[in-house]
Symmetry: C2
Subunit: 219 residues, 2 copies
């Protein structure tokens, strides 16, 4: 099955037969506290058990001291990757978390920016130094801010960039990819569709078309 450059954001439980049908099209699934609290750890494991996806990303926006973050990720060993806030800094926080994840074969994504209006991008120079110094597996940059994705791609040519804010939050499908993201994080657009499988196929087609278009423009 052809996989799209899609990370499926599952904030709500969707029927198991629908999920089974569409999960093959996704590179990964992103899960946050809303679903984790509602279903519990065992409930989430059960939902994920039968799916064939490459990466399970826990989007907990980790932003605490080292001990607390490590205590949290230890309990979620079914996941491959964790998203944390760059803003909290390294010593006594992200540094120790990164070591723990490295030693346990897990990946760290750091937030470069967020999609909502109130996020202050004046602090990006500081965030950039944190990311440079920590060398995480990937970076999160929002589809709602194409210029931010381009800057992050310029600053970190070799990092995986994943991009939320596509669809319901305003980003258009494929645009984040054209601006330098590797995967688009899409949720509501898929699970609120009356025909999720067709919707996913449509998204993959749009992503391919957009990528082909922007390849042409850039050469």
């Amino acid at each position: 099955m052809l996989k799209g450059r899609i990370i499926f954001s599952m904030d709500e439980e969707i029927p198991q037969h629908v999920l089974l049908k569409i999960s093959g099209y996704f590179h990964g699934i992103k899960i946050g506290y809303p679903l984790l609290l509602r279903k519990g750890i065992d409930g989430v494991k059960e939902i994920l058990r039968k799916l064939e996806i490459n990466e399970i990303i826990m989007d907990l926006k980790l932003a605490d001291i080292d001990n607390t973050m490590i205590n949290i990720v230890k309990q979620l060993d079914f996941a491959n990757s964790f998203i944390a806030h760059s803003f909290i800094g390294i010593d006594g926080a992200l540094g120790e978390l990164k070591n723990f994840l490295d030693n346990n074969g897990k990946k760290l994504y750091l937030l470069a920016s967020m999609s909502h209006k109130g996020w202050n991008d004046d602090f990006y120079p500081y965030i950039k130094t944190v990311i440079k110094s920590l060398n995480p597996y990937g970076i999160v940059a929002p589809a709602t801010k194409p210029n931010v994705i381009r800057i992050v791609r310029d600053d970190f040519p070799d990092k995986i960039i994943i991009s939320p804010g596509v669809g319901a939050q305003g980003g258009k499908i494929g645009d984040a990819l054209c601006n330098g993201a590797d995967y688009e994080i899409i949720g509501r657009t898929i699970y609120t569709s009356s025909d999720p499988e067709n919707k996913v196929k449509e998204i993959i087609k749009i992503q391919e078309e957009k990528i082909n278009e922007c390849k042409k423009t850039s050469t």
Copy 2:
């Protein structure tokens, strides 16, 4: 029973008979994701059911977009208060969270700073503008940084200030109170003691002595 200026930080489950014996001495209990994930929402409710405390504070270091944070706090309606990160900003994040909490009789605490070394206090001027503009119930400022507590108390004379980092992380009992905090958040010092009830009484005594001392010094 005499209540100390203590918020008990419960990161691990402690035996119910011990908790029943000591909880009367606490103003509040602070619970984070480590215990919440381990016990689940119903498990935490069960632990709290018989306790006589004034305030249950969920220390989730909320740092996400509005929808996600509101989805989380909605599920935790047994709590009185929630701690969030100031740095995520207001529009599309803290503003909507604050409205939701206000409308549901819940309190918001905002972080002014954190206790670990890597936290960058250069951003306090920005954080201060966020707190001023949002007018939360209370503020979190670490016992490990007495000068930060004094600045926050100066900037926000009427706000409740709660102070973590007492004990295991290095802050001395009573010092945060002398510097302007209203409550000290204490965990490990109590639950790793061989006699938690006596430990709590000892802490309350030290708090009172320190407060009397610093009252003398400041007059």
